[in-house]
């Protein structure tokens, strides 16, 4: 195969983006069909390229090299990106019909795909950074085309992701300096002092892309403000893929992360905290999309936890979880989109009993919710078991956090399902129909994939994930098939049953599915924490805002005084000087002659002063 084909995944979506951006509003059909075709071509291309192994190095500007590398890991991510891109496009065809910003959205979508492909393929840190920053811009653009709050949210996202990208930039600079090269495949650094700093900086870039705490706070806001396909595409799937891909690359290839190193523990801690905090916030949400967005954060915790364990079983679990999460989370967002499209709202207070109106959506929801909660035999179960296994190997506390997260996840999805699809149906929701086929297909496909990846979990694990680690790291293990550690399975099942019982208890206590989690929210200690959290007390962005407001006040005071010097003092001084000089110009020519003579004397004095 021609080496230059490696450019196609970058160029084809770029063409799509250009087509979409220049297309007229009147030519809706053309826009939609071209979007569909481009997305499909991209997917086919990814499939064709899947088995390839291409490496390309071209000298580029300023002594950098334009180097791309396609191998099994990047091909796997490329395929996933293309797949989700295709499904989201398909879904958007109907969802965006009649929306003002449709062509902008498609433009940004394809631009995102192009840049994501570029970032995945890049084998040069600088080049990767180039694509990575491009993604920041499309992120901003995609959020900003949403509703009227969107611009503010977009700014928030831009700042948060921008700061973490800055960290990434520094990390890349340090890494390239330490390694003496910017070619990723040539970098293998030990985690000494400087190496650790570089690792942390790059990990910040990676996990903030994935949406982990404490870089998460824009996601729930974006869930409300941005167009829904955006949520299904970026925070739910694409960003996770890219973030975790980068994290895996830096932990597996670029840095030598040993099992009991501090870095590993740090990553696991971040993962565990993210799991717990995000899922607790998810539990009390009263909005379909917002609840899902907190889960999007929470699930990242599992992946980081898994990869952070630095033991083969954990890493495989983390990567598998990444694929699984992308699947069920995007499907969940798509069901949310379907509900929004038909019911006109995503507020759980107004929903209820939609299961009869939208049976297919409901079934898809059921499958994916079961998958995310870790119910066997769906895919989530298997990946979580692997992560538990790895976590237990490193410490009971991490396992405990993971299992508590699992309990709360299950509880919150029971609540969500109950509130949205079961329960009492209000009058205005009577006439809601199922969504059109083009929106159903993606959901069905993804839900089916969830089942397949669960039942035949050997398929993804053996062919997609284990090659990433390579034989050296696997040491002959094979993690596919049913979990071997029956103790863990038993605990999981017990937890799930407990979650179900808890839900029943909650329903009985509060009388509705929506308020099934209220007893947790109102538990003695938690109530205060929740109150604070709802006031955004734990949002680092808010802290940042407060801090910068304080800074702004201080610098305002400083600025005023400097400003006074500039604005009043120096200006007044200049003006008064100017008036003095003008006053000297009295209009009397005799005076002018005198000045000239005085000037002449000065000249002679200057001549005779040595």
């Amino acid at each position: 195969m021609n080496t230059n084909n490696i450019f196609l995944p970058i160029i084809i979506p770029l063409i799509g983006a250009l087509c979409a951006l220049v297309s007229f509003k009147k030519l809706r059909f053309l826009l939609e069909s071209s979007a569909f075709v481009i997305a499909a071509v991209n997917l086919i291309l990814a499939v064709i390229l899947f088995k390839e192994n291409i490496s390309l190095n071209i000298p580029w500007v300023l002594g950098l090299e334009f180097s791309l590398r396609l191998y099994h890991f990047s091909a796997f991510i490329l395929l996933s990106v293309a797949g989700f891109g295709f499904l989201v496009t398909l879904y958007s065809l109907r969802f965006l019909r009649g929306k003002e910003y449709a062509n902008q959205f498609y433009g940004y979508l394809f631009l995102t795909l192009s840049l994501a492909n570029g970032a995945v393929l890049a084998n040069n840190l600088i080049l990767m950074l180039f694509f990575w920053e491009g993604l920041l811009l499309t992120l901003f653009g995609m959020i900003a085309i949403g509703n009227k709050n969107a611009f503010q949210t977009a700014t928030k996202a831009f700042i948060i992701v921008g700061i973490s990208d800055l960290a990434l930039m520094l990390g890349i600079a340090l890494t390239a300096y330490l390694a003496g090269t910017a070619r990723i495949s040539n970098i293998h650094l030990p985690l000494d002092t400087l190496g650790s700093i570089a690792f942390i900086l790059m990990a910040i870039g990676a996990i903030s892309k994935a949406g982990s705490m404490p870089f998460h706070s824009w996601i729930p806001d974006a869930a409300l403000d941005a167009p829904l396909p955006f949520m299904a595409l970026l925070p739910a799937s694409l960003e996770k893929l890219l973030g975790i891909y980068l994290l895996a690359r830096i932990t597996l290839d670029m840095f030598i992360l040993t099992t009991h190193s501090a870095m590993s523990t740090l990553l696991m801690a971040i993962g565990a905290i993210t799991i717990i905090l995000a899922v607790m916030m998810a539990l009390i949400q009263k909005d379909y999309k917002r609840l899902l967005s907190y889960h999007a954060i929470s699930q990242v915790g599992y992946m980081i936890l898994g990869i952070g364990t630095a033991v083969p079983v954990g890493i495989v679990g983390g990567l598998f979880h990444m694929v699984n999460n992308a699947l069920y989370k995007s499907c969940l967002f798509l069901t949310g989109g379907a509900v929004e499209k038909q019911a006109g709202t995503t507020s759980l207070e107004k929903l209820g009993g939609l299961g009869r109106n939208m049976p297919v959506t409901f079934i898809c929801y059921l499958i994916t919710a079961a998958a995310i909660s870790g119910v066997p035999p769906f895919n989530g179960f298997f990946s979580k078991e692997l992560i538990y296994d790895g976590a237990l190997e490193r410490g009971k506390i991490f396992y405990l956090a993971a299992i508590v997260g699992s309990f709360l996840t299950a509880a919150s999805f029971l609540k969500l399902g109950h509130a949205a699809f079961l329960g009492k149906r209000s009058e205005e929701n009577k006439n809601i129909r199922e969504v059109p086929l083009s929106m159903l297909i993606p959901m069905i496909v993804i839900a089916a994939t969830c089942v397949i990846f669960g039942v035949f979990n050997a398929l993804p694990i053996k062919y997609l994930i284990q090659p990433v680690l390579g034989e050296g790291l696997l040491e002959g293990h094979n993690f596919s098939g049913f979990p071997t550690n029956m103790f863990l399975v038993a605990v999981t099942v017990i937890v799930l049953i407990a979650a179900f019982l808890n839900h029943l208890f909650g329903v009985k206590k509060s009388g509705s599915g929506l308020h099934a989690s209220d007893h947790i929210r109102n538990a003695p200690v938690l109530v205060k924490i929740y109150d604070l959290a709802l006031k955004r007390f734990f949002d680092p962005y808010e802290w940042g805002l407060k801090f910068s407001r304080l800074l702004a006040d201080i610098s305002w005071a400083v600025d005023r005084s400097i400003d006074w010097i500039y604005d009043k003092f120096s200006v007044n001084l200049t003006y008064s000087l100017s008036r003095q000089i003008s006053a000297l110009q009295s209009g009397n020519y005799s005076l002018y002659v005198v000045w000239s003579l005085v000037g002449a004397m000065l000249v002679f004095v200057l001549f005779f002063i040595k």
Partner: protein, 106 residues
């Protein structure tokens, strides 16, 4: 040229400088525009004298004479123009007082 001539140069120089002082004093102190022009004329007299003396001393009296002739013509023209301006000012303001031409200032 000889030493005697050079020795005699200084009285002429003193005269030239004194004429300069008179001319400038007149130009600066007077409030009458015509008298200011007379001050300028005295300056020119001083310069004429200087050039002639220089020519006499250095032995280039042909050169300096021709220079003086040119200069006299030019100064005559300039004084004519100046008188024209003064007459113009007199027509506008009705007097020759230089205090009337202090409109442009600042």
């Amino acid at each position: 040229m000889n030493i005697q001539v050079l020795a005699d140069l200084w009285p002429f120089m003193v005269c030239v400088i004194t004429l300069f002082v008179i001319g400038f004093y007149c130009l600066i102190v007077t409030l009458n525009l015509i008298r200011a022009l007379i001050g300028i004329e005295i300056l020119i007299k001083a310069i004429t004298l200087l050039i002639i003396v220089v020519g006499y001393v250095s032995g280039h009296s042909a050169l300096t004479q021709s220079l003086v002739i040119t200069m006299i013509v030019i100064e005559a023209v300039i004084i004519t123009i100046a008188v024209g301006l003064v007459v113009g000012i007199y027509r506008k303001t009705g007097s020759l007082d230089s205090r009337n031409i202090r409109n442009l200032k600042g």
